[in-house]
Symmetry: C2
Subunit: 188 residues, 2 copies
Amino acid sequence: MALVHHPVLNRNGDIVAAAVTNLDLHDIARAARTYGVKAVYVVTPLEDQKILAERIVDHWINGIGAAYNPRRREALELIRIQDSLEGVLSDMARRGAGTPRTVATTARSRNRSIGHHMLKEKMAGGTPYLLILGTAWGLAEEIFDSADFILDPIKGMSEYNHLSVRSAASILFDRLLGDRGHGESGDR
Amino acid sequence: MALVHHPVLNRNGDIVAAAVTNLDLHDIARAARTYGVKAVYVVTPLEDQKILAERIVDHWINGIGAAYNPRRREALELIRIQDSLEGVLSDMARRGAGTPRTVATTARSRNRSIGHHMLKEKMAGGTPYLLILGTAWGLAEEIFDSADFILDPIKGMSEYNHLSVRSAASILFDRLLGDRGHGESGDR
């Protein structure tokens, strides 16, 4: 997956570069590791934000965090930092992960979006997929234009739909990669 | 649901009172609001932690946060602060919400646990349910002893299971209350 910090929208709909957040990296890496996601790309072109992300990861992989909490290290090892989605695709190719189908996510209803169940079926085919999530007020339009698929928004029980990107990533992993808890323990 | 800060375990298995975390309240309240959860009880007996939780909620409900982001207010309005699970049950009774079936959650496999799908079916019956999540290293044993149900751990694709409580709450709401994204947009 890719956690995009630029280009994303601010509350006014302007394109901005959002700040890297410590807890986004931790929560999303832990969920990614739980669901067998291969890599979490942190996408930002800002040098100071790349350095911040590298410091967080380094603390838990090589620093005192690694000894304090080795399970956190296992999660944060999934994080890779790139300038752009193009950089993500190049890195995947370089690592032999092939060319993924790209899936843009959104909290709003859009044209040509596909359901979670349908995407899960497609993903079972073996082709690599890159799930793209935006920070701040969501991905910029250009990312939807270039994505192979746009995923339906997550709908709960109400019209309210303002999940954190941490919650959205966790729910998407569970919907697309989880075993959904059906029948796993029967009638006990 | 109840987000329990005491009694919970620390990394050594001792019973402790965990600190209230700003982002737990925000993320879980937003997810709860999205999925139609009626209330998010923050359970802590510590006076300073209760004051902290109240300040966070007050900032977004009555303070400048309410004007800055009214949608955040809609979420944080769900939060109620109580000393203990007994206090939660009393508060629910006082508000006419009845006596709920209590469901303790855990990241570990345990005896007498039930699957997510089965719990979802039970919940459809109309009886109120109280979903109990622990902070820190999870709920203390006494909570499992007294709960009506223990929910199966969330399993991903790997043996790794160290989700944040924010991720776990989000996934549980989606599993128990979501429409699962099946067929919502068909074959577009």
